[in-house]
């Protein structure tokens, strides 16, 4: 009951955050130099036609009124029409958003597993060769730019060994009857492996290092000694007590990282020709396609806020010392 209240409160907070985000986005794009008028309305048109077009887009009204109209229609689920495509922005970005999301969640899940277990292993084997080599390796991976590791993987696994496809999300010419079919077909999974691996290797480093140092702190704690004095088996001490306690700071770091991962997906999507929204965002911003860019950033913001919410709830669940009120 108390935890339900807590979650509800956090959701309300999230909605407020998103509202602020939308407001900032709205004005930010309009402050940035360059305007859609010059990009979408041919200067060769006569004055009247130009004004007619402006009116059609609603760009003739004062900024504040535009903002109110925008918020009102957003609440109805209408994100406006893309200037470039003339179609609803949500339709343009929607499909691509799912593509990005699937790639991102897969890679985040993998990186969390690598981070938690890898970090625990390195800490447990502290001072041994496994720790030394492992830490150096992790740092090396962390320093390597994703587009470079991505191309490296492509040249090895796709080009040389021909084990995996070179890019894209599915083999050209394949058709899918449903979303489920699309995301759970063997063909799709084959295409997913390399980009997901590249992204997860990159984003695994931070949680891994946090997990490692957190574990090193925890194993020095008195309660670990007491558990050992209790005669509990080493393996059980490792996962039930040491890892369980060391996990807490990792959750926090991970939530922050999830936000970066969405932002960083642009590079991965470019290298692997993944039809995600990364490239679409870049295009939309440079083309001053306000509705499309705003929608895309709003979706990213929502995802980030959602990850933070999940992390907070998870943290409260994992650490009884967090007082819920």
């Amino acid at each position: 009951m108390r935890s339900m209240k807590y979650i509800l409160k956090r959701i309300l907070q999230m909605i407020l955050t998103l509202f602020i985000l939308v407001t900032i986005l709205f004005f930010l794009f309009r402050v940035v130099p360059g305007d859609p008028v010059s990009m979408y309305i041919d200067s060769g048109l006569d004055k009247e036609s130009q004004e007619l077009l402006l009116k059609q887009y609603g760009l003739d009204k004062p900024l504040l009124e535009q903002y109110i109209i925008y918020i009102k229609s957003m609440l109805r689920g209408d994100f406006g029409n893309s200037f470039q495509y003339g179609k609803p922005a949500i339709t343009v970005i929607g499909e691509r958003f799912w593509n990005t999301l699937v790639l991102m969640i897969t890679s985040l899940a993998i990186s969390l597993c690598i981070g938690v277990f890898g970090g625990a292993l390195l800490a447990w084997k502290r001072g041994t060769k496994i720790d030394t080599v492992g830490t150096i390796l992790v740092l090396a991976v962390r320093c390597a730019p994703v587009f470079w590791t991505g191309m490296l993987f492509l040249s090895i696994f796709a080009f040389k060994l021909k084990l995996l496809p070179l890019g894209g999300m599915n083999t050209p010419g394949t058709n899918f009857v449903s979303l489920y079919d699309k995301f759970f077909s063997a063909d799709f999974l084959k295409h997913l492996i390399l980009p997901a691996l590249t992204a997860s290797l990159y984003s695994a480093a931070t949680p891994l290092l946090v997990m490692r140092s957190s574990m090193l702190e925890v194993v020095k704690e008195d309660f670990i000694e007491l558990v050992r004095a209790k005669g509990v088996k080493e393996k059980k001490i490792l996962y039930k007590h040491a890892m369980r306690n060391a996990l807490l700071p990792v959750i926090t770091v991970f939530a922050v990282q999830a936000g970066f991962a969405i932002g960083g997906s642009v590079l991965i999507e470019t290298v692997f020709r993944w039809p995600g929204m990364g490239r679409e965002i870049v295009l939309a911003v440079s083309a001053r396609d306000y509705p499309l860019a705003q929608t895309a950033f709003f979706l990213i913001g929502t995802m980030t806020a959602l990850f933070n919410l999940i992390a907070d709830v998870l943290y409260a669940y994992l650490d009884p010392r967090v007082v819920i009120n």
Binding site: D222, F223, E225, L226, R228, A229, K230, G231, N245, P320
Partner: protein
């Protein structure tokens, strides 16, 4: 009673070292003592004299840079230093349990206190979770905690409650030996006495034994049968608790006795021992207490004293034969002031 058959723990010539970047610290050197079944043994000495290292060595719970360099620890007829991890694991808590020094962080913060007691029981006994839980309730009752608090997390406990919970946990399996590292420091004086009495009654109930590290001479006088006085990693004196407190044979024991008020005895000034404990990275030649000993002779700075048999134990002092005269001297404040002067001169 047979003199030798009831030996529960026998430590012989134990050396424990820590490897640190500056070299090797001999935290415990040549320590020997024994514990009989049903006895309470008090371990006293200043902070950093190796008490905690010694008791951790008994369960082989030393940190990774610590190791037993020499000596034997016999638990009944089994040699603990030669045991593998699995054998050790079975002895831990089941036969030798421990009350740690700092109760504040001794419980895992993410599990309920009750579950942690249950874990200790289930690790060693083939009982159902329910049975283990009812044992936990019984234990909470014994140490004066409400059984409803078993469902609380450690952070919901006060320091004293945590200490009681750990005491309850230590008693869970009726171990033959409880090693208690200052078990009651987190408790106020009134409760201290209560809890100690409770532990002693429980131990007496099944003829269990205890090794108790403490700074409190009065606690030793009240509860301990035997006493080990440690200084700088070595045993200075070992013997019957009352006898050692009444008639200490080692100047350090005499000094310790001086530093505590006597409730029943005559009113007198407390005398502290000037100086600081030796650096164990480079222990002094000869007797480790030499620099702070008011009775130190030339010999004490060169030759390590041999163990000399006393009434109920032994003492490591070159001037043991003059102990009676030294005791009279040690009672005077001027005697100890001499060391301060000597230190200034050096």
């Amino acid at each position: 009673m047979d003199m030798y058959n009831d030996l529960l723990l026998n430590i012989e010539n134990l050396d424990v070292c820590y490897k640190i970047s500056d070299g090797i610290v001999k935290a415990v050197k040549d320590v020997s003592f024994y514990l009989r079944k049903g006895e309470v043994l008090g371990l006293v000495g200043e902070s950093g004299c190796g008490k905690t290292t010694l008791i951790k060595a008994i369960l082989k719970l030393l940190p990774s840079n610590g190791y037993i360099a020499n000596g034997e620890i016999y638990f009944k007829d089994r040699e603990i230093t030669k045991m593998d991890n699995e054998q050790l694991r079975r002895i831990r808590w089941n036969e030798i349990s421990m009350i740690t020094q700092s109760a504040m962080n001794a419980l895992d913060p993410v599990y309920k206190v009750g579950d942690q007691i249950v874990e200790a029981i289930l690790t060693h006994k083939a009982v159902s979770k329910k049975e283990a839980y009812s044992r936990a309730m019984e234990l909470f009752n014994l140490v004066g905690l409400e059984k409803g608090r078993l469902n609380d997390f450690p952070h919901q406990f006060s320091g004293g409650m945590k200490q009681r919970a750990i005491i309850a946990m230590a008693l869970a399996l009726n171990p033959e030996i409880i090693i208690a590292d200052e078990p009651t420091t987190a408790l106020d004086v009134v409760v201290q006495a209560q809890i100690l009495e409770r532990i002693n009654t429980l131990l007496a109930g099944y003829d269990g034994s205890m090794i108790m590290v403490t700074h409190d001479i009065s606690v030793i006088a009240q509860t301990c049968h035997r006493i080990v006085v440690m200084y700088g990693g070595r045993v200075m004196e070992f013997g019957n608790a009352i006898e050692v407190l009444k008639e200490p044979n080692h100047p350090y024991s005499m000094g310790l006795k001086n530093a505590f008020p006597s409730i029943t005895g005559e009113k007198r000034n407390l005398i502290s021992i000037p100086g600081t404990p030796p650096n164990l990275l480079k222990p002094p030649k000869g007797c480790r207490f030499n620099e702070r000993c008011p009775f130190a002779l030339e010999k004490c700075f060169h030759e390590e004293p041999m163990l000399q048999g006393t009434k109920g134990g032994y003492v490591a002092c070159h001037r043991f034969y003059e102990a009676e005269d030294l005791r009279a001297e040690a009672g005077k404040e001027e005697t100890w002031m001499k060391i301060r002067k000597r230190r200034v001169m050096v």
